[in-house]
């Protein structure tokens, strides 16, 4: 697309937002890692997400067995993740990486929410910063995400 100053397109086009970046300062073997997923993962005992749009999130304790987790998400085929939650929430694999010392530790709480739609402004102004706060409080060094 031609970029001319002041030119307004007659067609609506998505605009990529400006870059965000935080430098990595630690080695993996010294990092405390959390999982964050937009795949609608939560504990079976938690309230399910509203499939028509939901900007809330669920805290998932690291001690939750993967067999106690499930997905409620209306935006993708859940067939694979219903067979094995690790397809979108690779918690068992993360435990293996920590046991081997590839990473130092795993955060006590992970985060699940239902991405791919819903109130985008709420996600940006409320949900996103709230999730970041939870992660900061538990001393997370980096986040592994699944979405998109």
């Amino acid at each position: 697309m031609a970029v001319v100053k002041g030119l307004q397109s007659e067609i609506f086009v998505p605009i990529t937002p400006p870059p965000v970046w935080t430098h990595v300062t630690k080695e993996l073997k010294d990092m405390n890692i959390a999982l964050v997923t937009a795949a609608g993962v939560h504990r079976k005992s938690d309230e399910r997400f509203n499939l028509s749009g939901d900007f809330t999130f669920r805290e998932i304790p690291d001690t939750s067995p993967s067999s106690e987790l499930m997905v409620s998400h209306g935006g993708y085929d859940n067939a694979d993740v219903n067979k094995d939650i690790n397809c979108m929430f690779p918690i068992d694999r993360l435990h293996e990486l920590a046991e081997e010392g590839f990473i130092k530790s795993i955060a006590p709480v992970h985060i699940g929410f239902m991405g791919g739609g819903g109130n985008q402004e709420k996600f940006e102004k409320e949900t996103g910063p709230k999730i970041a706060e939870v992660l900061k409080e538990e001393g997370v060094d980096a986040v592994l995400m699944t979405a998109g």
């Binding site: 965000v20 935080t22 795949a39 397809c87 694999r93 993360l94 980096a142 986040v143 592994l144």
Partner: protein, 83 residues
């Protein structure tokens, strides 16, 4: 990706395992890896612990190695779902 950006903006480095690289590029991901998987099995095929492990490990390696915002690294793991 909005949430990834907010976490990154709050000072925590992030990497996303994406099934749809054009979507994460468009929405301004700071760092991403993209195995050849369908949406819904981003971290690998169901009950394929080896593929899932490799994808997670490589994602973490790329968390450290990616040196500029918006880079998406393709990972050499493929899963085609039988629909």
């Amino acid at each position: 990706m909005i949430v990834q950006r907010e976490i990154e903006d709050a000072g925590i480095p992030t990497i996303i395992i994406a099934a749809l690289p054009p979507v994460v590029r468009q929405s301004g991901t700071p760092r991403a890896v993209a195995p050849l998987v369908p949406m819904g099995a981003n971290a690998g095929a169901p009950n394929d612990a080896e593929m899932q492990y490799n994808i997670c490990r490589d994602a973490l390696i790329n968390l450290v190695e990616i040196d500029s915002a918006g880079k998406i690294v393709t990972l050499p793991y493929e899963y085609i779902a039988k629909v």
